[in-house]
């Protein structure tokens, strides 16, 4: 027992036989029991449901579906890169003192956040209707329909939409960094841009990453909308299959498994990214990663991972 004053020390020494009885968490036991019962019931009903599990297993590794999740992941990455670049640029533009620059950024966010992604995708896909040809006169010219393939249209559409959202996330990150950091950077002779790049943005990343991680996951799922303009991602491929064999739930379960797998991978990536930008954020050492803990358990205390 922790004793901080003299009299207590004396009293504790007089009665060493006092026993500590831990608090009983009755509510927790009841709650856990209810949850377990519910899970068992769910499990039983799914095992009795008319799901043809062998079909699920069979289609889990079908090449078109794997290709489909691949397309979804690639589309996510391309759209997120476009979205991040646009987001950072438009966030900095919105914080600019120049009214034209900040006004343009505001307009961009207003338009692309204010209309449905689905609508934007359809517009990009049909852009050839109003601009049949694209190019810089004398240097390069092409037919819009050749350049704006479904995948390109989907990348641009999703990316531009994402940029409008990411912009606000990045702006909140920049605003969360103390003004004194910019001043200190300027005091050692940095320009505003150098201060932004070396001092402000790296610190803003801590605030930016969790919501952007959220948006990456959101984007992975939004890519399913791209099927509307003819991109062959996993969900549209699955639909093509079940229109033929009528195994609707089985194929949707396969899609869910693949989506969950991809999201899990992304979450691991986010975990390590957050760790990287947490440098110096605490006076204590960062806790070991699950991977490091695993290595610790198996006794291979390899310094390379610490």
């Amino acid at each position: 027992m922790n004793t901080e004053t003299e009299p207590r020390v004396a009293r504790a020494a007089e009665s060493p036989e006092l026993k500590i009885v831990p608090r009983r968490h009755i509510g927790r036991w009841v709650g856990a029991g209810a949850v377990v019962l519910l899970l068992v019931w769910l499990g039983v009903s799914f095992s009795r449901a008319q799901i043809d599990w062998p079909t699920v297993q069979q289609y889990l590794t079908v090449p078109v579906l794997i290709q489909g999740i691949g397309v979804a992941i690639v589309l996510t990455i391309v759209a997120m890169v476009i979205g991040l670049v646009l987001g950072v640029v438009s966030a900095i533009m919105r914080l600019s003192k120049n009214p034209v620059t900040s006004g343009v950024a505001w307009l961009y966010i207003w338009v692309f956040r204010g209309t449905p992604v689905y609508l934007q995708l359809l517009m990009w896909f049909n852009l050839a209707l109003i601009f049949p040809y694209i190019g810089i006169p004398g240097i390069f010219q092409g037919r819009m329909i050749d350049i704006l393939t479904p995948f390109v249209a989907a990348s641009i559409g999703l990316g531009l939409n994402q940029g409008a959202y990411t912009s606000e996330v990045v702006r909140s990150g920049i605003l969360s960094v103390d003004e004194g950091q910019t001043e200190a950077a300027q005091a050692v002779g940095m320009t505003r841009l150098q201060a932004m790049r070396r001092i402000v943005l790296p610190q803003a990343m801590r605030v930016i990453i969790p919501p952007v991680g959220n948006e990456v996951i959101g984007m992975l799922k939004t890519t399913s909308l791209a099927s509307a303009i003819g991109v062959s991602e996993i969900l549209s491929e699955a639909q093509h299959i079940y229109y033929v064999n009528n195994r609707i739930m089985e194929l949707l379960i396969v899609c869910a498994v693949w989506y969950l797998g991809a999201v899990s991978l992304l979450s691991i990536g986010q975990y390590y990214l957050e760790r990287f930008f947490a440098k110096g954020s605490s006076s204590k050492q960062l806790p070991p990663t699950p991977f490091q803990r695993l290595l610790g358990i198996f006794g291979t205390n390899r310094k390379a991972f610490s």
Binding site: A184, V188, Q194, I199, K279, G280
Partner: protein, 264 residues
Amino acid sequence: MSPVAASTTPTGTALVRAENVHKSFGPNEVLKGINLEVNAGEVVCLLGASGSGKSTFLRCINHLETVSNGRIWVGGNVVGYRQVGNSLHELSDKEAARQRQHIGMVFQRFNLFPHMTVLENIIEGPVLVKKERATEAKRHASELLARVGLAGRENSYPRQLSGGQQQRVAIARALAMKPELILFDEPTSALDPELVGEVLDVMKDLARSGLTMIVVTHEIGFAKEVADRVAFMHNGQIVEIGPPAEVLGNPQHERTKAFLSRVL
């Protein structure tokens, strides 16, 4: 730095010269005509109650604030402007940054870069701005750390240090740019009382080494011991200036007397 025409060069050998400096934030006039000359190697302490404009004036000297009226010269150059013939051209961001390289600044709240180690904090300016070689900058940084009594703390992060240690790192960071002038903006005001001494000791050492320093402070003892001159500010003006023995020992102005009777 660019040469300046003789007609506007400040007279004498003053490193810093402020002439009729005014500064307003909206309708609120914070500085109402400051005149001050600081010679190379001199230590000047600015005293005064909160809101008297000390910090604002200090921030004008390295162009963190733009003066509304009047002019400040540092090392013969007009702060924030480039002289071409008879006209003053406002500096671009890049040019202003170049001008600030020669003026160090130490902040009340340290403002160390928390995502960088102590060493990275110190070499960031020299390497990024002055394009010094990293090995050379690191060697110099370690020397400076030893000078402020923090040898061996190169790889700590700022949050792992006490306030006094952080402020000493901030001083080392300012010194790493080899400035001709360092501005101190209430460097000990955010520190626990028992940590004030270690920072003041470092500053005393710098003063003895002949560095030009302008120090906004509430530490009367430090001003008395170290300053060549003490300036007392009230309501946006310097009301009394002179050697510490005179201003602190035998104040003439009512405001100075009232202020000293409160803090001593």
